[in-house]
């Protein structure tokens, strides 16, 4: 089995696993990164979303093979950043997390959006985040949280 190398939360890692493994399984089972959640296993819910080279991707659909040489950031890595701090405060302020199962994925999707579009409109937020399902909040609070983060974190992204 060939070794697959990539950057994970700021560190170089190499794994000797079947390259067809789903990235989510590698992250959760091999690296114990349990903040990556499986909600549907087919890319519909976004609970498993991680950053690949700064873009949100569904780790339940990505084969390990495709990650080789790329940079992966999960909530465990992202929570150490200033951007996370701004986002989490905004989510707290408006109640953007209830049961919390979708929250890590929401945060990652928001980061993906803001890092490429620091001042999105409400429509752009909704369009970008529509691959992340939430059954508790009705979404409104999350949209508000991203808007607040965009304002309060101006210059960070």
């Amino acid at each position: 089995m060939t070794s697959i190398k990539f950057r994970l939360n700021g560190k170089d890692v190499a794994v000797d696993l079947d390259p067809s493994m789903r990235l989510i399984d590698v992250l959760r089972d091999h690296f114990s990164l349990k903040g990556v959640k499986e909600g549907c296993g087919e890319g519909s819910c976004g609970a498993c979303v991680v950053l690949m080279d700064g873009y949100s991707v569904n780790s339940c659909l990505l084969p390990l093979a495709n990650v080789e040489g790329h940079e992966i950031v999960t909530i465990e890595g992202f929570k150490e950043t200033k951007q996370f701090d701004v986002l989490q405060k905004a989510f707290a302020e408006v109640g953007g997390s209830q049961c919390g199962f979708c929250s890590p994925g929401m945060i990652i999707a928001a980061q993906s959006l803001l890092s490429h579009n620091p001042h999105p409109t409400e429509e752009e937020i909704k369009a970008h985040m529509s691959g992340n399902l939430c059954r508790c909040t009705g979404y409104q609070a999350i949209v508000q949280a991203v808007e607040i983060a965009s304002k309060k974190g101006a210059g960070l992204w």
Partner: protein, 284 residues
């Protein structure tokens, strides 16, 4: 034991395909679901697998005399935001799955999988795109419309790799992309429709349209389209019921968990009629 190969160059990929009958995975968004195993275990592949997403030389989007070339490993996200790419294609892509998935899924993968509910294959067929297939034996260009043979069936020889799609430049004055999913985002088409037209001096000079998710493959009839070209807008309006009736014959929707055939048939023709109304009304 099946073999799994990560290719970094086109040559590596073609050499592998020369003697392996393999699944080819670009983004993986479709195959990883189809071949899904229990959580925690590698997907179950019954034959060899070739991963192509790392082939940089296939990620280019560029234009030449043949049209716009879109490399097989360019992601939908890249295509969606690339000014060279046809506007109908970009519109359609903006409604494919979700942003998260578009960050890694590909146009080549969409046609390679040939799902009847695929959105971009409708655009490929409408815009007379060519699928470029390469193998150690050479290069082949196939019309996108003929490349999809049926449900998940494509005209690819086992040693071939889709390396790009080529969209010839088509000038027109109006276009329509209409996707009917089960919700406003992150949904699979129940029906979709793409069309373009050109009207000069009150006469239809170009007309093309293609239906998706209402037949085993994108439904387009150049023969019926030709009957529309040359009509004045008044004639088009007068003949609209008859024309719509003819086009209704080229689709054969089915019942499934997402919708039913009556709905698909009716809505497909509603969109078609809206398209004709746009042509007739728009030129006034």
């Amino acid at each position: 034991m099946v073999e799994k190969k990560i290719a970094y160059t086109k040559k590596e990929a073609l050499d592998f395909l020369a003697n392996h009958d393999a699944y080819i995975i670009a983004g993986g968004s479709d195959m990883m679901v189809i071949k899904k195993n229990v959580a925690g275990y590698a997907p179950l592949f019954d034959k060899d697998v070739l991963y192509v997403s790392h082939i940089k030389e296939l990620a280019n989007i560029y234009e030449d005399k043949d049209g716009v070339h879109i490399g097989a490993t360019a992601t939908m996200h890249e295509i969606e935001h690339h000014k060279l790419c046809p506007s109908l294609l970009r519109k359609a892509i903006s409604e494919v799955a979700s942003t998260n998935i578009r960050h890694f899924c590909t146009l080549a993968g969409n046609i390679g999988n040939a799902s009847p509910a695929g959105d971009t294959i409708v655009i490929d067929a409408l815009l007379d795109a060519k699928v470029k297939l390469e193998s150690v034996d050479g290069v082949r260009l196939v019309d996108a419309k003929d490349f999809v043979l049926g449900v998940r069936k494509i005209y690819r020889h086992p040693n071939e790799l889709i390396t790009e799609l080529i969209f010839p430049k088509i000038e027109y004055t109006g276009e329509l992309w209409f996707k009917v999913g089960s919700r406003r985002a992150d949904s699979i088409s129940k029906v979709c429709f793409a069309g373009y037209y050109e009207v000069k001096k009150n006469v239809v000079t170009k007309f093309a349209c293609c239906f998706g998710a209402v037949a085993i493959r994108p439904a387009r009839s150049k023969e019926l389209e030709a009957k529309v070209v040359g009509l004045s807008l008044e004639e088009l309006k007068a003949k609209q019921p008859q024309i719509a009736g003819d086009f209704a014959q080229i689709i054969a929707p089915i019942d499934d968990q997402r919708s039913n055939k009556e709905y698909r048939q009716t809505v497909a023709m509603n969109i078609f009629n809206k398209f004709i109304d746009d042509i007739v009304g728009g030129a006034k």
